[in-house]
């Protein structure tokens, strides 16, 4: 009857292993990448008896726990990785779009431009007042500061994004290297051993982490060695057996990102299709676009306003000074130091229209490019010809044909006639003197406002970004639900549930106790034979 003792002993050993497995599961309930272990129990194969008389007698061998199986489903794991990569891309994008939104919205660039243009209108109502001139310069400083903080904010985002991407790329390279090491271990690990299960856990943890950084496609061999391709199953290979390739990244001059696979071997340009890295690349493009547009608006604004101001006359009758310096783009936007009296509110040339004129023609005059006009000149219109005369000597300076609405150059001036003239109409034109209350240069600023559309352009950048952000948030909600579903489906298979473990614990504990009872019975039976 020694068989019964052996069977009992095999039960003790097998259920001890099983209980250990439950203990391991409970201990690792919260370990990332841990897949539930199930004890494998197998009956010890009954062999034929050794005596001819016992040839038909079944010999019972008991139970053995030859190893542990790891609860794993590679397809569900791939689902989690793919949906996770999609979600990571969207969420990475959202984080950075939110920062762009804050910079574009909170620096009040649009409102400060509105304030500037309205200050110029206030100045137009009181062109010689020092108070409105000071207010105008203050509003110009506010515009410069808004351009600067917006520009600097976007530069800071671009820098942070670059640093974050560097870190992520470094991490991805590290993960690929670690996976190659795990692959090498898996080649040597014994099938069904706990060592192999641990390596597989590590492999899956690495793969899950990689999939949050970039979209990957994984294929595994029978012994668990993983081959990782980027993007899809026909994408470039990142990890092949024990060989891991490196990825490098650099920011182009425009601020967009370029990834290169295997830069020191066989360099290959990468377009990453998922994961946080793809999200970072998306965000980099957005930041670059926003920066380019803000810089364009800043330069255009400064150029137009400076051109208008330098073409006018200030309160002391001097030529106007430029107000803005946008050579450093939005981030370097600055105001030039102007005295309130130096704001050129008046046009450079004052035209006096005699009451005697019979036509309704009006002249708008600027100094011609490179022109050196006399301080005063009389312009008369007759038969489609414009004549400039020296008002003191009556000598004709120049005569040119003209068409209403088109500027013509005459006597160093560029003159545009509007309205119909009657032959013989004349105008006294003089360089604007000190203390002029003319405000027509400020009207040009109002014209530049509508022609330049600066405020609308800023609003468009903000709205474009906001729209992208809104759509990404709803996409992220949907992708989050898909990812949650994929995790639930995988966990259904692989995760540890404490209640289940408790039940299994009870079961194996009872089986263990029953096996020890078998040993006791075997001993008692043996004892009863001895006592015969």
């Amino acid at each position: 009857m020694s068989d019964l003792l052996l069977i009992g002993a095999s039960g003790i050993r097998a259920y001890q292993t099983a209980l250990n497995v439950i203990g391991e599961n409970v201990a690792n309930v919260d370990t990332a990448g841990y897949a539930r272990r199930d004890p494998t129990l197998r009956e010890i194969a009954p062999g034929a008896g050794s005596y001819p008389l016992q040839i038909n007698q079944r010999i019972l061998g008991g139970v053995i726990a030859p190893g542990v199986s790891r609860a794993w489903d590679q397809f569900r794991a791939a689902d989690v990785r793919n949906s996770g990569a999609e979600l990571a891309r969207t969420e990475a994008g959202i984080t950075w779009l939110e920062r762009i939104e804050t910079v574009l919205d909170k620096n009040a660039l649009g409102p400060s431009l509105t304030g500037f243009f309205n200050a110029s209108q206030a100045l137009a109502a009181d062109p010689t007042g020092i108070a409105p001139r000071t207010a105008f310069l203050e509003s110009a400083s506010a515009v410069a500061s808004a351009f600067r903080t917006t520009g600097e904010g976007l530069v800071a985002i671009a820098e942070d994004l670059k640093a974050t991407t560097e870190l992520a790329v470094t991490e991805l390279n590290g993960l690929a290297q670690s996976l190659a090491t795990v692959n090498s271990g898996l080649q040597r690990a014994k099938e069904g051993s706990n060592g192999q299960a641990q390596l597989l856990d590590e492999r899956d943890r690495l793969l899950d982490r990689m999939s949050t950084l970039t979209a990957i496609s994984v294929s595994t061999t029978d012994n668990g060695v993983a081959t990782v391709r980027l993007n899809a199953n026909n994408g470039p290979v990142l990890v092949d057996n024990v060989d891991a390739k490196q990825i490098t990244f650099e920011a182009n001059a425009s601020g967009t990102f370029a990834f290169t696979l295997d830069p020191f071997g066989d360099p290959q340009v990468l377009a990453l299709k998922g994961g946080a890295l793809a999200g970072f690349a998306d965000a980099a493009t957005r930041v670059a676009d926003a920066r380019a547009e803000i810089d364009r608006v800043a330069t255009d604004f400064a150029d137009r306003i400076n051109t208008i101001l330098t073409g006018g006359a200030d309160l002391d009758g001097n030529d106007g000074q430029p107000l803005f310096d946008a050579t450093g783009g939005a981030a370097g936007f600055a105001t030039l130091d102007l005295d309130p009296r130096e704001v050129a509110a008046a046009a450079r040339w004052t035209t006096t229209t005699p009451i005697a004129n019979e036509g309704i023609a009006r002249l708008s005059i600027v100094t011609a490019e490179g022109g050196t006009p006399a301080p005063s000149v009389t312009i008369s219109l007759s038969g489609g010809v414009m004549t400039a005369t020296d008002p003191l000597t009556g000598v004709v300076v120049e005569s040119v044909p003209y068409t209403a609405g088109t500027p013509v150059e005459i006597a160093g001036l560029s003159i545009t006639v509007s309205g119909a003239a009657v032959d013989g109409d004349s105008f006294a034109v003089a360089s604007t003197g000190a203390g002029s209350r003319d405000n027509s240069n400020l009207n040009l600023i109002a014209d530049a406002r509508s022609a330049g559309g600066f405020e609308a352009a800023i609003s468009t950048v903000t709205t474009t970004n906001a729209t992208a952000l809104t759509s990404r948030r709803s996409i992220a909600d949907a992708q989050g639900a898909i990812r949650d579903g994929a995790i639930a489906a995988r966990d259904n298979f692989t995760s540890v549930n404490l209640d289940n473990e408790a039940v299994e614990l009870l079961r194996f504990q009872q089986a263990y106790q029953a096996s020890s009872r078998i040993i006791q019975v075997a001993r008692e039976i043996f004892q009863s034979i001895i006592e015969i």
Binding site: A124, G433, L442, N497
Partner: protein, 308 residues
């Protein structure tokens, strides 16, 4: 279906985090009294609000320009009305002087009063406006009129006063050039100005005058003719000022009602409603509390507790 213990905890944490994010968002709405706290809440409505904000800021500036222009026109009208009163007085004095029975002393008194009328009108014509510049100075910022040693008053300004912008591409001439109001008056084929008309009367009637009675009569007749022409001129100018003032009043009303309308439209676009937000906040907080309470209960449930 088996739910992993770790996943069930993670899931609860995410749900509770989502609810507190929502609570936070609603609190933000309440604190700022608007629904569109950031552009991404509603990009389309936000871009419309930005445009409205800009329109409202422009209208505010235009309203301030309109009010400045109105006060300038009021001041002009006051000044012109005073000048009109002075002219009427000059007219009365001229008529009294034309009476042949007037004693030389009375005539001297009339002459003195006419001279003081010129002084008064010179002061009025040189009045400064609320901006601190000459009301009738035209395009130049110095004094509008100067008087030389002989008492001859002449226009010192230049051109026309700059119009004030009161709307996109809309301007109004809030002040008039003194040259057009006080000068350029045609009397008996000569161009003269108001100061000269009254000043000539004063000098011809003064005791120092060497004029013959006939010359005095002719001068008085010419003076009365000039005063009539000047009154006409002032009447026209005041009518023009009044018409512009009426236009500005309309503009003020338009801007005021536009401001109200824009404010209403903005509120509508933003769609913030305190009651709704408070109700949502309470609902969210209740849900959060319920989730927390049930999480605490459920997480206490473990079969291990019952294994004794």
């Amino acid at each position: 279906m088996q739910i992993g213990t770790s996943y069930s905890y993670d899931r609860s944490i995410m749900q509770m985090r989502g609810l507190s994010d929502e609570t936070n968002r609603l609190l933000n709405e309440l604190a700022s009294s608007k629904r569109i706290v950031t552009p991404s809440v509603d990009p389309l409505a936000h871009s419309r609000i930005v445009t409205l904000d800009r329109t409202m800021a422009n209208d505010k500036q235009f309203a301030s320009n309109v009010s400045l222009a109105s006060s300038l026109l009021d001041q002009t009208d006051d000044a012109l009305s005073s000048v009109e009163t002075q002219l009427q007085r000059a007219h009365e004095l001229a008529l009294r002087a034309s009476n042949d029975t007037l004693s030389p002393a009375d005539r001297a008194a009339v002459a003195a009063e006419l001279a003081s009328i010129v002084d008064d009108m010179f002061t009025i014509a040189n009045a400064t406006d609320v901006r601190g510049t000459a009301l009738f100075g035209g395009a130049s910022s110095g004094a509008a009129f100067t008087r030389d040693a002989d008492g001859v008053v002449s226009f010192a300004g230049q051109g026309e006063a700059p119009p004030i912008p009161i709307g996109p591409d809309t301007n109004i001439a809030a002040t008039d050039s003194g040259a057009r109001i006080f000068g350029g008056i045609q009397v008996a084929g000569e161009t003269t100005d108001l100061f000269a008309i009254v000043g000539n009367l004063a000098s011809v009637l003064s005791p120092d005058s060497t004029a013959t009675p006939e010359e005095i009569r002719a001068a008085i007749d010419k003076g009365i003719e000039g005063l009539d022409a000047a009154s006409d001129r002032l009447g026209t100018a005041r009518a023009s000022v009044g018409a512009r003032g009426a236009r500005l009043e309309l503009e003020t009303e338009r801007l005021a009602s536009l401001a109200t309308e824009n404010e209403i439209q903005k509120t509508g676009l933003d769609g913030y409603d305190m009651q709704t937000t408070i109700a949502q906040l309470q609902q969210t907080m209740l849900t959060l509390q319920a989730t927390q309470a049930s999480f605490t209960k459920i997480s206490q449930l473990s079969l291990f507790d019952y294994l004794r």
